[in-house]
Symmetry: D2
Subunit: 321 residues, 4 copies
Amino acid sequence: MRIGILCSGGDAPGMNPVIRSVVRSASSLGHEVVGIRRGFRGLIAGDFMNLSSRDVGGILDRGGTIILSSREERFKSLEFRETAYRNIERAGIEAMIVLGGEGTFKGAQIIAEESGLPVIGVPCTIDNDIGCTEYCIGYDTALRNAVDAIDKIRDTASSHERIFVVEVMGRNRGFIAVEAGLATGAELILVPEEKFPKERIPEEIIKAKEMGKLHFIIVMAEGYGKAEELKQFLFESVGNRYGEIRATVLGHLQRGGSPTHTDRIMGMKFGEVAVEALLSGERKGFVAYKRGKFYIEDFQRAGEPKEIDWEALRLSRRLNL
Amino acid sequence: MRIGILCSGGDAPGMNPVIRSVVRSASSLGHEVVGIRRGFRGLIAGDFMNLSSRDVGGILDRGGTIILSSREERFKSLEFRETAYRNIERAGIEAMIVLGGEGTFKGAQIIAEESGLPVIGVPCTIDNDIGCTEYCIGYDTALRNAVDAIDKIRDTASSHERIFVVEVMGRNRGFIAVEAGLATGAELILVPEEKFPKERIPEEIIKAKEMGKLHFIIVMAEGYGKAEELKQFLFESVGNRYGEIRATVLGHLQRGGSPTHTDRIMGMKFGEVAVEALLSGERKGFVAYKRGKFYIEDFQRAGEPKEIDWEALRLSRRLNL
Amino acid sequence: MRIGILCSGGDAPGMNPVIRSVVRSASSLGHEVVGIRRGFRGLIAGDFMNLSSRDVGGILDRGGTIILSSREERFKSLEFRETAYRNIERAGIEAMIVLGGEGTFKGAQIIAEESGLPVIGVPCTIDNDIGCTEYCIGYDTALRNAVDAIDKIRDTASSHERIFVVEVMGRNRGFIAVEAGLATGAELILVPEEKFPKERIPEEIIKAKEMGKLHFIIVMAEGYGKAEELKQFLFESVGNRYGEIRATVLGHLQRGGSPTHTDRIMGMKFGEVAVEALLSGERKGFVAYKRGKFYIEDFQRAGEPKEIDWEALRLSRRLNL
Amino acid sequence: MRIGILCSGGDAPGMNPVIRSVVRSASSLGHEVVGIRRGFRGLIAGDFMNLSSRDVGGILDRGGTIILSSREERFKSLEFRETAYRNIERAGIEAMIVLGGEGTFKGAQIIAEESGLPVIGVPCTIDNDIGCTEYCIGYDTALRNAVDAIDKIRDTASSHERIFVVEVMGRNRGFIAVEAGLATGAELILVPEEKFPKERIPEEIIKAKEMGKLHFIIVMAEGYGKAEELKQFLFESVGNRYGEIRATVLGHLQRGGSPTHTDRIMGMKFGEVAVEALLSGERKGFVAYKRGKFYIEDFQRAGEPKEIDWEALRLSRRLNL
């Protein structure tokens, strides 16, 4: 079998381990892998490269993705998709593995349905917000990056007894905020899932200061609000009475860096499961991980809501303040 | 309630987050915590210190344990244990939380049975080898440390096209070896659980060199053998024909460093569960984690065999060579 | 002699090694050290703490400053300074060591002149912009932090073939921008010292893309401009033709983290020199480092312009594009 | 001009930045670079590869060397050297840049003298022990690695109140030992340059314990002795009275990892200077760095003794105990 592989949407650390695993699993079983560069854009452009076991040597510890990624709006148009299908056929690609998030999986499903090609998705997003799977590749590394950065910010926050608003990634879900906040002992965690009234924040600050805390760190998911706006609001509420207020947006550094052992290992497992699903005749769906097991889930269930660790959020309120 | 807490045996990164969680969970519910310094040795010596919520500020990201640990043989003698019980009574300690591994839990069980004091264990060991619980505090950080070190060794192994034997911790179980080996793309993983015949290693080396691999890294659990001895054996078998052979023992650096977010978060959860178990009337047992849930397990089951991730070992053979 | 020590202005990683060195150098020679909390604010408030050799154990690898820092406007008023002098006298402080930047040294000079107390400054600022000294404590760690963050950003920039504007610290001087930019292979470095016309940036981007570069990373000192504004300007000039444009501000994480070996060692040396200067009768000035030697420099020379490494900037243009 | 480049002897982090700089500096001035794989071994084998500016993209942050290194005894034989010279001529190589230490420079000098080819050396060794140059590529990264590892070991040493012997690299010189020891607050530093009598170590341990130190860390250069032997000696002298004694050899991990900003920047500067030296007609010698300036030094002076930072050693005795 000749398997095409692509990455689409936001890159996630751990995509390279997945690619390596797909190539070597397929290769060890006598199959071939073709890398499609820049996701759906490369499908339309016919930008393909053969990937041998040697080509994926030395990428296990590399962030990003060696086959590049992109967001490609043109794939929504049937005309461009038909070009893509012709390219797939011409390249002799008989099945596909796509790495990405919910939006990517929508494209994957359309390919499977329109072209009849078997297509398996691998959930990759640092936001960890794909439904039905307990883990999405990239999340653990993003958490490490956020925790490293917040640990550093705490040093300066303590020395100056400041209030810090740290905005982390998570547009719809507060996964990074909750776990990075708990892990760094953040005094307050704000997530889009919970409508914590910002009017209550000043009293939390006062409480912490009365307890003798030198700093007050708020870890906020971008889905809750903008760091600069919350800083402004706090300044208008309490001024500098309880310490100067600073805002910082961690931004894209959360996406990079060498994948953690968890993202490497999970990436390798997800990749092998994807190959084996194709070989065992699966037609479409994404690899999901639940209670220690991998299975193939319907593409449309990727959009189902996924709950943050509410217990962690509750625990943070008990321990960190 | 007045709760005593101690660490015993090998220290594990994440013990401080457990201590912080125990102190703050107890404190938030109106209870007190007394730190017992140096484990059972401190029990015998009556070396106690009160721990307030403030005392455990700033320790979340610190390796080791602020209340120190030790291995104390004297606790096997009833005479010394009776001294310990008197100290416990004198200090008004009404229940205990002990952090450590299987040996520690044996001591904990004896205390519970002889003194009638409720005692709850928290599984802490970088070897991850305590029965019945999927996770032991310290393991994730030890893995990070091993992976960081092996990534570095691979740089020099590649540049010189060498064969490296890297000995990692794991006396009875190969947990670190398997996962660190898989995560670093080690060409061979050797664990005590599997009697991989060392006579077969030379052919593995030859196979890898024929595939064009620049280096050959063997990650070996200390329970399988000694790095220097395996190096010697390999030298006698293949000489320097396939690259110079080097041996390195990662050693104690695996135990240190700032705990990863996983060890911090798990440590905080384990700590709270331990406190709540005492408050709900549990008399003895250790906190176990299985399929996303925490519960109290019998102390003697800590010694039950725990399986390494055999799938990971198999996967490593498929992908890394 | 009883020596007071304080930190003022922005904190810098390496202040703790300086404090430890001052305390232990003084102590080993039979003198005492008093920590003044929160800089000049603590002088006014009389917020002092004795610092013994044991008190500064375990702080060598800690970011920030254990005696806290602040910016205190009230010290510009004679009334508050006189309160400070009374506090100094009452506490039996006979000499002072102050850690900070140019602004801090102005305060130090006033103390020396008004009170007659010997005062020695230690140059601490991540911006590395104090005149006459080749090194300022905190700079090496800030560089490490910036380089780590930009390395991560490059992973995602490459995967998406994006243009990134990364704003680093440096209000008046481009030290961090030049060295972090060179070290990360940034395609363009923008510093306040050089009026690189932003109108020329689009042609640089085009040139890089024609050379086959996947990404284009601009490392910009905050003294050159705002990341968001440059992103906007670039978007208006070239749109997304050469890749999507992103802006990120590294912010306060540059200040934190465990000091590098360079900041620890230099911190220890600076600290000892400060103590010995006081003991040898120096009345005022700051410790400067030039060509491998330490000496005491006039406070007012701290404000003299200090040149960035223009050779590094030139080299970056040759190698990174 | 067509320039050959090779690495020989122990690899050093920062070799890749040197290679990148040589290739891009030469290329920007209209010259070509040929990579010689595996050092002198590749010269003999004629194992060459063209290196374009694109070929050295993405290697700035990579440890090791992309053109590989080796120790090659055959180069001592004229017969093999003549093969090498024929290969050089056949490949049209007109000048050479060699990266390595003293031994490598001896080979370089012979090439220059026998073949008449201009040859410039770049000092690369983590031991930092090449005469006449204040800096050798790889040293800063090796220090970072050693300090990171010792910081981790200190966590467990403190928790168990142990005595640790940590052996670091440095066969003839104690550079890493002195600076890593000072930077980590090691209680004792042992270097080959100073005959610190091991009989005096027990009293140092006792002194530290009396001062209330929890641990006692000895950082020892391999040139002073073997960790295991010192551990044995100490055990025979003081037993476990002052804490259990442990020995650890940091080993090859010191050589790996992403080069620090210092090694990247210095590597780039050294590389450019080497190219410019060839272009300006230099016939032989190595790039040396002294007091902020680069110049070409005679090959034979590489073997001159180079002094460790005795001031740092003295300071460590004052501050760390």
